[in-house]
Amino acid sequence: MTTPEELRYTEEHEWVAVRDGDTVRVGITEYAQDQLGDVVFVDLPDVGRQLDAGDVFGEVESTKSVSELFAPLDGEVVAVNDAVAESPELINSDPYGEGWLIELKLTDAGTVEGLLDAEAYQRVTDG
């Protein structure tokens, strides 16, 4: 199970990648996709939606179960991955790449620092 060093993480098994300045990309971790099994449906928000950290912004559904997606930080949805809505299996095959979910323009770019680093997230999944 890989946990890229350069990403930040949440206890809800999402990753956050800083794009440029105050924009971040969000997805679910390899651990999360492995727990879910084959993802068959993804429900993502519309661009322009304002999210507070902890808000439910969508769902990922496998044949066995459903998981809600939680906004990792405060911000506005500025992009959604249409490819993953079309081909949800990208979340399984490339969770940190092609399987990304949304991009957020953060209300406060500094809040990224409050997320888990790779080492701390590893402890969450080992726990």
Partner: protein, 360 residues
């Protein structure tokens, strides 16, 4: 608890789940690939968590006729029967496959979670008969090969006349020099076989089947795809469609209750009064891709009229399917209802079961 094949599954990189106290493989790689393999080629399942109980003796048939709702005395040696054990109130204790191995010898196969209850009830219910009840579960492994290629694969490793082995029949066979019970049964909606194997020989039999299956596209298959396969085939799962509160009639399985057999049987009087349940089991077809799941409400307008027992996006059909209990007057195919999928009301239509039927 772990099955005799646990190390084999670990070697295959399986993900595990707890099922009725057993650590079972939920998938090896992708449950969708495993599901497809069973529909198009073959899948190899470890079902060693199931309970095997042997009932023997001069009155074994009479004991089972009393203990179960079916007429097991009418089963020809070498054949199997799908049946149920009910409680005195007519609720289902478990659904079972019973093999008649010989005139005075039966094998009762119970669901993992219910096996202790079935063993205890059988022991008690058989006490006044000249019959013995013995738990064979600890020394029995159960391996299933399911799918259109299963006859060729099993035929390559088993010394047995498969052409003569009908659906719901069982025969002694030899695999790798080992005597086993080979049955043509399953829980996937495909042609398939179940091999009852001495526990210590299970890894060897698994290996032989894996090798014979390789050219046919056989994949090891976990519980995740087993659930979607049986759901597509409209087969009930105890704990979802069947329970101690529900009668076989509610599940549209009243045909397994044989009122015409002589003598009393446990649940007879209560079952006779439960032939017309208020709610019955139906199939539901959804639109889009969001599946109704176990426990979700079924609605008519805004009125709750039932509850989903199992549901998934059907891997074979590509649309959401579910089984649900609904009010009897809404059970007609074509009836338009809705499912409450986490707050959103999605339209569903009552359809005939099964959702999927193999071309035979």
């Amino acid at each position: 608890m772990k099955t005799p094949l646990h190390e084999v599954h670990e070697g295959l990189g399986a993900s595990f789940t707890d099922f009725a106290g057993w650590t079972m493989p939920v998938r090896y790689s992708s449950e969708l690939a495993e599901h497809r393999a069973v529909r198009e080629a073959a899948g190899l399942f470890d079902l060693s968590h199931m309970g095997e109980i042997e009932v023997t003796g001069p009155q074994a048939a009479d004991a089972l006729d009393y203990a179960l709702v079916g007429k097991l005395s009418a089963v020809t040696p070498g054949r199997a029967r799908y049946t149920m054990m009910c409680n005195p109130e007519g609720g289902v204790v478990d659904d079972l496959v019973v093999y008649r191995l010989a005139d005075e010898r039966y094998l009762v196969v119970a669901n993992a979670g219910n096996a202790p209850a079935v063993l205890a009830e059988l022991t008690e219910r058989a006490a006044s008969f000249d019959a013995q009840v013995a738990d064979r579960s600890p020394d029995t492994a159960l391996i299933a090969v399911q799918g259109p290629a299963s006859a060729e694969i099993v035929g390559a490793v088993a010394e047995a006349d498969l052409a003569a082995l009908k659906y719901y029949a069982g025969t002694p066979a030899t695999v790798g020099g080992q005597e086993i019970l080979l049955a043509r049964t399953g829980y996937t909606g495909e042609d398939g076989f179940e091999l009852y194997v001495p526990a210590e020989r299970a890894p060897e039999v698994w290996r032989l089947l894996t090798e014979a299956g390789r050219p046919h596209g056989l994949l090891p298959a976990g519980l995740a795809c087993r659930d979607t396969l049986r759901l597509e085939a409209g087969m009930p799962l105890y704990g979802n469609e069947l329970s101690a509160e529900l009668s076989p009639f509610a599940a549209n399985l009243g045909r397994v209750v044989k009122f015409d057999k002589p003598g009393d049987f446990v649940g007879r009087a209560a079952l006779d009064k439960r032939r017309d349940p208020e709610r019955v089991l139906v199939g539901l077809r959804g639109a889009g891709r969001r599946a109704a799941r176990h426990g979700y409400a079924v609605l008519r307008g805004d009125q709750p009229v039932g509850e989903v027992t199992s549901g998934a996006l059907s891997p074979t059909l590509g649309y959401p399917i579910a089984m649900a209990y609904v009010a009897r007057d809404l059970a007609e195919p074509g009836t338009e209802l809705a499912a409450d999928i986490r707050g959103r009301h999605e339209p569903v239509e009552v359809v005939a079961l099964p959702f999927y039927q193999r071309r035979s």
